[in-house]
Symmetry: C2
Subunit: 158 residues, 2 copies
């Protein structure tokens, strides 16, 4: 992973400090009972989330989605949920429903309020252009969920 | 299936006319492109939904949930969604998320409103004591969803 500045002038080092990126790293470190990732840097942990357009084209969308890809999708949305909790105090459930063809839903809900409802397709190719893009996408979900939670607090607390 | 009256004095014939039971039958007939069920009576179609307590105990909860059982769970919640639509005009999505261990969620949502959020466990044993019970359980979901949709119309139409 390169540490050169991107077009916006944000370096990867700065991105690594973003709350969403920290939350996603925490998803791995928090469940690392065997210490597998103990000696891995955050960059190394996050590397599989970065999938170039070229690379995506090379990944077949046939058959079952790879378990490691499924785990990354789960980690992404769990990190979104963790950030939502931090900002709103709402505990939420994360449900990933994936068919064998890589189609499905990523849902995050609290009470009867759906904070995130994202259709998934070609989930085999889940990934982001860059670390910045990963942070940006995650934070977009968090922000829109937080807005919704503030707009309909009663539904989120049913 | 017997046609004797149950304790409430409702006969199975009357139950077969209930809106929920009709909706569940419709789930099968509507998707029966090959005419497999054309000559089946409604009772015969619904029979696998009736699982006695004794029978449930005999079904192992190990491994994958049988595809036919999964199809019945889907048909049940799709029928709930169809009845909700009839009463509220809200189109909804049905998501069934089942782990290999038969645990998971049945979710029905419209806009950002979760009309049904039911945890599933031992899904291998999905079934009801009687046709009356099947109708009763289905209608309970519909009623509570309709109440919710009326309470938070704005969230259901996002």
């Amino acid at each position: 992973m390169s540490f050169t500045n991107n077009v916006n002038g944000t370096s990867s080092t700065e991105t690594l400090d973003s709350p969403f990126i920290k939350a996603i790293v925490q998803q791995f470190r928090g469940q690392d009972s065997y210490g597998t990732y103990r000696n891995w840097s955050d960059e190394l942990l996050l590397k599989p989330f970065i999938v170039s357009k070229q690379k995506k084209r090379e990944i077949s969308v046939e058959g079952e989605v790879d378990p490691m890809t499924q785990a990354r999708i789960m980690a992404f949305y769990r990190a979104v949920a963790a950030c939502i909790e931090k900002e709103t105090g709402l505990l939420s459930q994360v449900v990933i429903d994936l068919s064998h063809e890589g189609f499905g839903w990523a849902l995050i809900f609290s009470g009867r309020l759906l904070l995130v409802a994202k259709t998934l397709r070609d989930a085999h190719r889940f990934g982001f252009d860059s670390l910045e893009k990963l942070a940006e996408e995650g934070e977009k979900f968090v922000q829109s969920a937080v807005d919704l939670a503030k707009r309909f607090p009663e539904v989120g607390r049913i």
